[in-house]
Structure formats: C-alpha cells, structure tokens
C-alpha cells in the first residue's frame, strides 16, 4: 500500500506550458484518449490548446494569470478517465475536457455532483447544451442534432426553399454516435415533407458495400452521412463503384484533410461537410500562431498538424474555455471558482476567435453557444463555404434537447 501511494504520488502529469510568472496559474485538464479510438483528432486538439495557451501567456495570460495546460491519456477507458478527473480535481483543476463520448458520460455524474466545468464539445451527451439542467457542462459548438438540422437547412436552400419530394438518404455507422440524429431527421422529414430513408452499416465501418447498393437503388438527391474519419473514405469508394455523384454527400464534422488525401484530392472534388470551424491554416489565429511559435521553433508539436481542421477545432474549443476563464477573472476577480468560471462562460457574446468559427454566444440556458455550422465544399484544393454560419430548425433541435434533458432531470430528481 505504501509502495502504491509513493508511486501514485509521483508526478502524473505532463506540464504543458509553464512560463515563469508570479501569479497563480489557471489550470485546465485535457484528459484525452491519446492511444486508442480518438487518436485521429486528440493530438491536434491538444497541440492547439498548448499553442494557444503559449500565445496568451506571452501576452500576460488571462488578466495576468498564466494558463497551465495539463494533458493526460485515458485511453478511452471510462475507469481511467475518472481517475484523471478525480486526481486533477484534487489538485485544484476546475476546467476539464475528456473528448470521448464514453468517458464524458462516465465523468458526467461526478462533474454534476462536484460542480466543476466540463467542456464537452463534439462528444458526449448532446442534450447537455441545456444549461438549465446541465449547469456545469459546456458542449460549445453544435450538437449532432443541430448539425443534422443545419444539413437539412442547407438542402432546403438548395431546393429553393421547399423540401417536398426531395429524397434524402441518411447513412450512418450503426452505434450510438450514428444513431443519434435519427430522431431529429424523422421529425424534420415529417415537418418538411421530404422523403427520408435510413442506411445503417455496421462497425467498424470497413464494409459498407451492401449499404451503398441499396442507396443506389433508392437514388437519393442528397446523402447525409454520420461516419467517422476513414469511414468517409470507404463511403467515397463505394459511391464511385455505384456511380453516385460525390457532390451529393454531406459529411458530419469528423472529416478532415487526411481523409481527403486518402480519397484523392481530385476524386473528392465536390464533397461537402458541415463544420463549426473554418478549416485551413489561412485563418488569422492560425497565422499568428505559426508566426509567433512555429517560425521560431517553439511550437508544441508537428507543424503539419496545424493544417488539419481538427487543429482549428481544438483552437475553437480552448479559445472559448480560456475566454470564459478570462471573463470570469475580469468580472469577479481571483481566485477562480467553478461558479465564477460558469458565470464567465455564460457571458461570452459573439465570440468568434478572430473569424475562426461561428460566432458563439453562451447563455445560462444555451450552453452550446448557438450551435451554428456551415456547409463547405472541397473544390480540389481548398474548402469553399457554401453557406453562412447557420442554425436551422433550432426550435425542433431544442425540442429534442429538452425531451432528453428532461429525462435526465427526472432521473436526477429520483436520487
């Protein structure tokens, strides 16, 4: 037992960005899956968080307090995610992100009980944007329901404002991530009168052949796809084989430049994706980071990662978290408490990190920040926006959110 406590007491953490500043740091914990299922995105996001923290620290941090970014691996195992949370919580960390649906779900009851901030962008329960129920969770960005609704909104625009008779295929990987938008899609199909058909394919998503044969028979006008990373590449191959035009395909946000490369930059021409951040390294914030860090050899990782859309996603998530903490210090002063950070987060208004993402306005009721996305199209060399930042059918989306969060609230009340 003693041995364990000695070993356990050893520094568990990788201290990211520590600059010698007198003031107490604002510490944020990135308990990420750096070794199993989410490795296609976590390194870029962690790198973005550390880079952006360096940039802010060089300018004096958050109202004089430096940011300390703690990165730790939980291997997508709920048990280890909880361990990470419990350990860092005792070390005074108040802002956490798990970036894994299973781990976020597992940590949620503890976060809600302890009252710590859980950033939960793009992972975990979508209904957590309901700030009335999930006081401590900030899934800034769109929910999957919101994304699906925005995709439908885009299709509505393209169809001249009328969806009657339009055929939409919803193809998804058959597990909770892919199943999530089914409800909202059905609701919208009824409301807007478009024809919806569901096409599931099984995990791990390498075999989609029979699914796409069925889609060919259905001959849809649009295809909305809930697939992760390389599953999109496999879908593109099947589409080619079945003679389905690739410009009908709208991917969820987990679709990046690496996947495009795997499809072939020309073959992918015309493919679309919904996203809540502007991709590419031409964004002013990315340019600033490249100039101030990478050009001087001070970057926190591979420069190539900065070209990836997930790097921008990471910047988006963490710029909001840092902004929330900054507002909290500015408004209520040091020392920070979770309550102060919560208030700070909820006073973020029209924040877009210098054009990097959809303008975000967080309120006590809406922890999602508006849930705006836009549809982009790959033109062979870069992503071209097809819409403004939109949040379509938000009443319907909130209908689903409220329905689910009410269920959670009910089970909480039972305790």
């Amino acid at each position: 037992m003693r041995l364990r406590s000695i070993l356990g007491g050893l520094a568990l953490t990788l201290v990211g960005s520590m600059t010698a500043m007198a003031a107490d740091p604002v510490r944020v914990a990135l308990c990420y899956d750096l070794s199993k299922a989410y490795t296609f995105v976590t390194p870029q996001i962690a790198q973005a968080a550390r880079d952006y923290a360096d940039i802010l620290n060089a300018k004096g941090g958050l109202e004089g307090h430096p940011i300390e970014v703690i990165v730790q691996d939980h291997g997508n195992e709920p048990q280890r995610g909880i361990e990470c949370y419990e350990r860092l919580k005792r070390e005074g960390v108040m802002i956490f992100d798990m970036l894994s649906t299973p781990v976020s779900r597992a940590v949620l009851p503890r976060v809600m009980k302890d009252g710590n901030i859980l950033m939960q962008s793009l992972a975990g329960r979508g209904d957590a944007i309901d700030g009335d129920v999930f006081k401590w969770v900030f899934p800034i960005g769109p929910t999957y329901w919101g994304q699906a609704a925005n995709d439908v909104g885009y299709i509505k625009q393209k169809s001249g404002g009328n969806l009657k008779g339009v055929k939409i295929a919803f193809v998804y990987v058959d597990y909770p991530f892919g199943q999530e938008p089914i409800g909202i899609m059905k609701t919208l199909a009824q409301k807007e009168g478009f024809d919806l058909q569901l096409f599931p394919y099984p995990l791990p998503g390498n075999d989609q052949a029979s699914t796409w044969t069925q889609i060919r028979r259905y001959n849809p006008d649009w295809i909305i796809s809930w697939s992760l990373a390389n599953m999109n590449v496999i879908a593109s191959r099947e589409m080619k084989r079945n003679g389905i035009a690739i410009d009908k395909y709208i991917a969820v946000n987990w679709f990046n430049e690496v996947d495009i490369k795997n499809m072939g930059v020309d073959a992918a021409k015309g493919i679309k994706r919904g996203t809540n951040v502007a991709g590419g390294s031409s964004q002013p914030l990315v340019q600033q980071i490249l100039k101030e860090l990478y050009d001087k050899g001070k970057g926190n990782g591979d420069r190539k990662h900065t070209e990836d859309v997930y790097y921008n996603t990471g910047l988006a998530i963490w710029s909001i978290a840092f902004e929330g903490a900054r507002l909290a210090i500015k408004k209520d002063g040091w020392p920070l408490t979770p309550q102060k950070i919560k208030d700070g987060m909820e006073s973020i208004k029209d924040y877009d990190a210098n054009g990097l993402m959809a303008p975000v306005t967080v309120t006590a009721k809406d922890h999602g920040g508006g849930g705006k996305t836009r549809i982009e199209m790959w033109d062979g060399t870069k992503w071209v926006p097809q819409t403004d930042w939109i949040a379509a059918f938000s009443d319907d989306v909130w209908g689903v959110v409220k329905e689910q969060s009410a269920e959670y609230a009910k089970s909480e009340a039972q305790k």
């Binding site: 037992m1 364990r4 406590s5 070993l7 356990g8 050893l10 520094a11 568990l12 953490t13 990788l14 750096l34 070794s35 490795t39 390194p43 962690a46 790198q47 990165v71 730790q72 691996d73 291997g75 709920p78 048990q79 280890r80 909880i82 361990e83 419990e86 350990r87 005792r90 649906t101 299973p102 779900r105 597992a106 949620l108 009851p109 503890r110 329960r125 979508g126 209904d127 058959d174 597990y175 909770p176 199943q179 999530e180 089914i182 409800g183 990782g301 591979d302 689910q404 269920e407 959670y408 089970s411 909480e412 039972q414 305790k415």
Partner: protein
C-alpha cells in the same frame, strides 16, 4: 520465517480442513482485513475512490470469471456482457423504486438467468467453439443495448443510476461506497475459498481435468458446467451492479463492451487460473498498472529532462505495460498468484529446499 509448516500438527479433521490451516495465513488475513476496514482513516479519498474501490469490485468480478475459467475450465469471452446485464437490471429495478439491496440481487438473478439460458445452448460445444459462442453473447448484448431504447435509456444510451441506499440510508461518501465494494468483495472471496471444499467445487475441477473421466464416475458434466455458468453469471451480474452503484453512477454500453471482456480475461490469466489471491493481483495489475506506467514514464521524463511528444508519452506506457505482462507470464506461466504461491512454498519449507511429497 513468517510461514512455517513445521510444528503445526492438526489433531482433528476440522482443523486440518480449515480454510487457513497455517497460523501465519490467518494472521495475514486478519491484518489485511483490519487494514482494509481502516482504509478510509489513513488513505486519501483519491486512492480510496479511484483505485481501491474499482480494484475491489473488479476483483470480485474476476473471481466470478475465475470460477468459469479457472475452476470449470470453460472459456468465456462475453463476461462483460453478463456484468452489463446485471448493471442494467439493477439500474432499471432501482428506477422502478426497488431498494438497492434487492435490486442487486435481482441483477444477479437476471444475469444468472440469461447467462444460463445462453449457456444451455453454448455448452453443447467445447473449447474454441465455446469461446466463439460466448463472444456471440457479447455481441448480441451490445446490439440489444444499443438498439433497444427501453433498455439503454434512449439515444444517449446513458442511464443515470440513482444513489445507493442501504436500509433507507443514502450511501454517497467515498468511505461508504468503499465499504460497499469491500463487503461484496469479501463475500465473493469467502464463497470462492469455500468452493474448493464443496461437492460443486470438486465436480467442477473433475470436469475441467477430464470431462469424460468425470462422466464415468457419475459426474454430470453438462449439469455442473451449467451450474458454474449460472453461479459465475450471478457474481458477474451483482459485480456489474455494484460497479455502477459505487463507481460509475451511470450505465452506458461502453462500460461493458468486448474490450472489457478481454480485460477481465486478462485479469484472470495474468493473476493465475483458479487462484483466488491471483484474482486480486490480476485485477490490480490490469487496472492500476497502465496508470502507474504513465506516472512512471512521466516521472522518468521529468527526472532526466528528455521531452517526449504527447503521442509517444501516451503510447510508451502501453508498450511497457504489454512487455510487463509478457515478462511476468514468461517467469511464471501460472500467473501472479503462482509467483506468490512459490514464495509462500519456499518460506513454508525453509530452511530446507524442498519437501518430500
């Protein structure tokens, strides 16, 4: 020496057949029990709630799997699914207003029922075929949970577990939850220790060693395999329910996925097939070692000032952890429990090198 066989003479059968015939063992058990009971007094809540508690629950679960794998010698690759059945049953029962004490028993019975129905079909085949059909159980459960909203709790596939109440008293403190896990672990351990001395235990070993030899002495191997599956499923079900009640507080399918089945299998194999103390070691090794390795590598990196990329730092512990498992199994193929056994045997016969058996 600590353990000493010399000078211990049993004058009646009861003493000879005691669970721990050697006084040193008895003392060790007493000391460990006292240490465990007093743990909340000297151990900080982080270790108590994030290490000790899951370790105890997983040890209980590993013991249940050991019953099937180590005693009855039957493969089971869907053990986590059975734990999941228990977990979901308990949470649903609790949400329906059934007290937790009864809910976990229901969870165990539900798991035992489904486990046995399944075993009824699966046990008609042996060896690798059985392993594959238990894997099928895992996939059927995964699918059912993720496709039947009434079970999984809607598209979020998360069911919040109501807080535990024991005899009407809410148990929410770290110490309280720890004691719940401790009691369950001790119960299962006691059961397993005694199993060796029962007709069931002997029949199971007979079936494991040679099932047709067992058949010619009148042991109905199918029946006993079935009983083993049911009993082990019961332990799995309750362990799953306890894990949710004391640790996760919410149940989701990933907590009982095929990865977890493999992890449970690893606990038993690394710990030692059929070894009770081995299940403790195995669960500790599989559960805590990745974290310790992480800490160790980070510490090394900090000590010697070499900086590693985020990804290297995440993968290195896994590699080292894998190497450790292989290393230990090379040293002693019968697992950590056997390493302990070797040391104990050595001490028992000390100062001699061996005993005549």
């Amino acid at each position: 020496m600590l353990f000493r066989q010399a000078g211990i003479f049993h004058t009646d059968y009861a003493a000879d057949r005691a669970l721990f015939p050697i006084p040193a063992d008895r003392w060790m058990i007493v000391i460990l029990l006292v240490l465990a009971l007093a743990a909340p007094l000297y151990m900080n809540t982080l270790y108590l709630s994030s290490y000790m508690l899951p370790w105890l629950v997983w040890t209980a679960a590993a013991l249940g799997l050991n019953l099937i794998l180590g005693w009855a010698g039957q493969f089971h690759l869907g053990y986590a699914a059975v734990m999941g059945i228990g977990a979901y049953s308990a949470v649903h029962a609790q949400r329906a207003g059934i007290p937790w004490e009864i809910a976990i028993v229901l969870a165990g019975l539900m798991a035992a029922a489904i486990g046995s129905v399944f075993a009824f079909a699966a046990l008609r085949v042996k060896g690798l075929y059985l392993a594959l059909s238990t894997l099928a159980l895992q996939f059927v459960m995964d699918w059912t949970i993720s496709h039947v909203p009434a079970i999984s709790g809607g598209t979020q596939a998360t069911l919040q577990a109501p807080d535990i109440r024991l005899l009407g008293w809410p148990v929410t403190s770290d110490a309280g939850l720890f004691y719940v896990a401790l009691v369950w672990c001790i119960l299962v351990t006691t059961f397993m220790l005694n199993l060796r001395r029962t007709a069931l235990g002997r029949a199971l070993v007979a079936v494991r060693e040679k099932d047709y030899a067992a058949a010619v002495i009148g042991v109905n191997s199918f029946y006993f395999k079935l009983v083993a599956f049911a009993t082990s499923s019961f332990i799995a079900g309750v362990s799953g329910a306890v894990l949710i009640g004391t640790f996760y507080h919410a149940v989701t399918p990933e907590q009982f996925s095929v990865d977890i089945s493999i992890q449970a299998l690893a606990m038993v194999i690394v710990g030692g097939l059929g070894s009770i103390i081995g299940s403790y070691f195995g669960a500790a090794f599989i559960l805590l070692m990745p974290g310790l390795m992480n800490a160790f590598i980070s510490w090394l990196a900090a000590q010697f000032g070499f900086s590693l990329g985020i990804e290297t730092l995440a993968h290195l512990p896994h590699a080292l952890y894998g190497a450790l498992i292989i290393g230990f199994l090379l040293i002693e193929p019968l697992g950590l429990g056997k390493i302990y056994g070797n040391i104990r045997d050595y001490l028992l016969v000390w100062p001699f090198g061996y005993v005549k058996k």
